[in-house]
């Protein structure tokens, strides 16, 4: 069984009167089981030079029956070192938040289609704040991958 572990440590000596030292670790399992997740899109690293909204997992079909009740985890990191630069992260066209330089997220992803009657897929998208170039990293660790079928139409 594939064993993948995700851990986080949140620390601060001066946010509160008491020190903050919070740790959490979990093994990534298939939904509702203790069987490890065994598929991944691989770690992507890209230099985005436009503020265009990008679907970072185009190879996965969101809203597909293959993903229903499945477990998927998304990691995204803004590798910029300029504190003013950020990426806007959305799901179903709805803004989750902004990742500023060095920030990352780790979140579950249901890949569900939008419920807001706008026919948006459950895409996870990013949009850089500047067009001068930003490095990003991302990956998805999942189960039940379904890929788009071949489409050679050019128009």
């Amino acid at each position: 069984m594939a064993t993948t572990t995700a851990a986080i440590t949140l620390t601060s000596t001066d946010l509160l009167t008491d020190a903050l030292s919070l740790s959490a670790t979990n093994t990534l399992y298939k939904a509702g089981t203790t069987v490890g997740l065994d598929q991944t899109t691989g770690m992507a690293r890209a230099y985005l030079t436009a503020t265009t909204v990008v679907d970072i997992f185009p190879q996965l079909i969101e809203g597909s029956i293959a993903f229903e009740n499945k477990s998927s985890w998304v990691y995204i990191c803004n590798k910029s070192e300029d504190e003013t630069e950020y990426i806007t992260v959305k799901i179903c066209e709805n803004e989750i938040g902004r990742l500023y330089a060095g920030d990352y997220l780790w979140m579950p992803w249901s890949m569900r289609e939008s419920v807001n009657a706008n026919n948006h897929h459950g895409d996870v998208t990013v949009a850089p704040s500047v067009a001068t170039g930003m490095w990003l990293e991302w990956t998805c660790i999942n189960e039940g991958t379904e890929y788009p079928t071949e489409n050679l139409v050019t128009a």
Binding site: T5, G32, L37, Y86, W109
Partner: protein, 133 residues
């Protein structure tokens, strides 16, 4: 003032993939576009639910835009128990037993609430924390 969030993702060679996964990244939680640390928190909280009703964890109307960060953890140990996480009524994902998540929250709309729905009416406990500016 400083708050540090360190993430590690690991998997041995030949497990998830042929090569080992050993990702480690750390960030200091700062205010939007600044190097100034976030200085406010809603505190580390726990909520135990005993129905499948939806609960609002964080109300988008109660916070201004910002580089807020949210930490969530399902503290249950029974594999099938989960919380559905929604943002602005869109399903983000499900947190199964032992799972945790850490993500930014823009709170850019009054409707950008963070809501949870337990999978069953059995006792489910979620731990959560908000860092905000």
């Amino acid at each position: 003032m400083a708050i540090t969030a360190e993430l590690t993702l690991t998997s041995a060679a030949g497990d998830l993939t042929t090569d080992a996964l050993a990702l480690s990244t750390s960030t200091s939680l700062t205010k939007a576009g600044l190097s100034t640390a976030i200085s406010q928190t809603a505190g580390l909280a726990r909520k135990t639910t005993e129905s499948t009703s939806q609960y609002t964890l964080f109300d988008g109307d109660a916070y201004s835009d910002g580089a807020h960060k949210i930490y969530l953890k399902n503290t249950e140990s029974t594999a099938g128990l989960y919380f559905v996480i929604e943002i602005n009524s869109e399903q983000m994902g499900k947190l199964y037993a032992g799972d945790w998540a850490f993500f930014p929250w823009e709170a850019n709309a009054d409707t950008n609430d963070i809501k949870i729905t337990p999978s069953t009416s059995a006792s489910h406990t979620l731990e959560y924390m908000l860092f905000y500016e």
